[in-house]
Symmetry: C2
Subunit: 457 residues, 2 copies
Amino acid sequence: MKNTSRNIVLQPSEMPDKWYNIAADIGGKMLPPLHPGTLQPLDGASMSALFPDELIRQEMSAERFISIPDKVRELYSMFRPSPLYRAVNLEKMLGTPAKIYYKYEGVSPAGSHKTNTAIPQAYYNKMEGIKKIATETGAGQWGSALSFACNHFGIDLQVFMVKVSFEQKPYRKMLMNLWNGKVEASPSIITQAGRNILAQHPDSPGSLGIAISEAIEMAVNDPATKYSLGSVLNHVLLHQTIIGLEAEIQFEKAGDYPDVVIGCFGGGSNFAGISFPFVRHNLDGKKKTRFIAVEPTSCPKLTKGKYRYDFGDVAGMTPLMAMHTLGHDFIPPGIHAGGLRYHGAAPLVSVLVNEGIVEAQAIDQLECFEAGLKFAQTEGILPAPETSHAIAATIREALKAKAENSPKTILFNLSGHGYFDMYAYQLYQENKLTNFVFDDALLEKIEGKTHPVVVSR
Amino acid sequence: MKNTSRNIVLQPSEMPDKWYNIAADIGGKMLPPLHPGTLQPLDGASMSALFPDELIRQEMSAERFISIPDKVRELYSMFRPSPLYRAVNLEKMLGTPAKIYYKYEGVSPAGSHKTNTAIPQAYYNKMEGIKKIATETGAGQWGSALSFACNHFGIDLQVFMVKVSFEQKPYRKMLMNLWNGKVEASPSIITQAGRNILAQHPDSPGSLGIAISEAIEMAVNDPATKYSLGSVLNHVLLHQTIIGLEAEIQFEKAGDYPDVVIGCFGGGSNFAGISFPFVRHNLDGKKKTRFIAVEPTSCPKLTKGKYRYDFGDVAGMTPLMAMHTLGHDFIPPGIHAGGLRYHGAAPLVSVLVNEGIVEAQAIDQLECFEAGLKFAQTEGILPAPETSHAIAATIREALKAKAENSPKTILFNLSGHGYFDMYAYQLYQENKLTNFVFDDALLEKIEGKTHPVVVSR
């Protein structure tokens, strides 16, 4: 057989048994989250209304590696190790000398990388006797992953799903219901935060920031309910590093190493998952890999936002986090990559952007859909609209390699499949989608709403 | 880690390099296909209007193993070896002492086992210079798999898609179009066979038998166009044996062997694919595995049909094949398992049913949907409605093992995922689906339309 390296396979026994905690290596650059009332650094105790103790411990940990519990590894083995594929057909179609690899996270229940953190989050809640969790979801990937995990552990789940996605992707709700998740379109009338938004903007398409406010309100008002977040926070990014840690072993088997690592960027979790284990080798000076986080032009927190202390949600219920932000009340237009419609960015990734280790790119919706279709045509997997941002950047890099006639090795994270996003692809093929221009005037308003941080950019 | 055997993984280098041709072992029991005009055994030459030479050679071959071309193995490695999973969560939910394994074919482009034969069929056509192929599809699994393969090899494809499925599953058409397949709802007005049906039954929901007539007519009328079939024929079943051959190696690694092998049954290809390599060890007396083919109660060719010479299509354009049939003009009700709506059965499987080696079961639509949902709830994969028939039978066997308090090892083929069948699951959950009663009076009519064969049943 000419080419067996289209599919680099790991045995379950080769699955890493620890997550990589990048805070151990860049902790000195991190600014602590602040209590929104006192503006003082937050202690673990004040997070305990929202999270179980073990997740708080992980959130604040400086240990470099954190063990994955046996039970979590057992459930991971339902779909992990995930495949690392070589996109030979796409390379040929582009006529590029670049080698393109992708890690396929769509093999999980619910179809995306989100299951990697849903399982441990539900597990730690279960271990501490929690009976109910509230959460938000954008496009539904996170909500369905957490529904699956909570259903497995017998935990009730209330999901607030961003309204524009709720309407675009009705089958996502069915999937959550299948796993006994309850779903409300957000803004909803069942929380004060939701009612406040609806009073001012009855037609609000919703946003992740609003849905987070609703879920947190529900958790805060009920001592028996905890909150769970699908991205942004340190412990969420930690769990996702299983992606890059596996990829690292797979690259060793393939006798290769990535020159460029690419992930789409919403809150930062899939990007962190694929990149942090490789970033580590840049940090210790052994490698010079480039890392590209790809966001939608319509929601450009990394490329245009400011590095400030800001809330993670619209209502201002979360701690203040030092991150790239467009302002916590920014409502992105209703693009179909609902998982990328978030005003802020994971603090850990924000630091790496500040340090010049991670590059950011913003790409328009139409270029991304075209890239997603090209990928499906050649490689046979239809990517989620979020993921198509990573593919668009990959194609740009591959064509650059062609123009420069220089081989290079590209790795991107195929974070989820698009089989519940067929309506979006249909609209694209019928020329019914447009690009959105970001209004730079909005940037002026960020200052007044956020808290400055003293850092060099 | 307590349990790594949820996922038994093969390396691409362990993928079998030959298909298993069961005709070598049961050829003596096989009756030849007959020319519909002369009623004489068909020779290869009279099939050459429809198929490339190599596929005709495979169709008539008595070799036990047939080499898989390097190029086909390379494309297989885009998704093969496919995983063999242990359904631990389902076992726990059922409280059964049985071990349940499933081979997951939904990982392929287009999402089902059909890609296993689509790739070699397109490849052999390409090798012989063919520029265009016509085919039928039921639920769209076959049509999209062949669209993917033809697009890869630069072959034009015309798909006739059974009308009831065309309307139930609009995104399947999009997927075929994505891979440049042209799709007509069948019966269509672009063939005489389609127009004849529409003249008599303007509201016909269509059937696989009608769609086959349309595709064959197109191929026969155009010397530059060949025909391709997604099931029933020997060479199609041959290509699918890659499933069972991989499973055999995976069971060896797991230190286990199936007591029961289960597959859903439309024309026979996924059932043959998972079972034939294991049937082989029954045939040579080394094992006593049970094999269960599961069909819908509404289309019960194996459990109620007659073993007769009959046409493979409604218009009577195919050779006469000795098989279990409900009569070639039987139009099954519009169940959502569109891939199982076929009046006949693969001749190879029919012989094994006659010999008592393969058992057949018919299961109602509602029991199957319930089984599919139970599986998704526990194992996280939503099966295609066709596949849910295999799961319903698996659950029956597992509960029998529980009642008898006797452990056993069950293997079933998860032939495809159901992510394009969400509408069907929605209808089921809204209590809008019913069972269909098969009218036994129809059996009386079979005799007059088919040609008897002299065999003992």
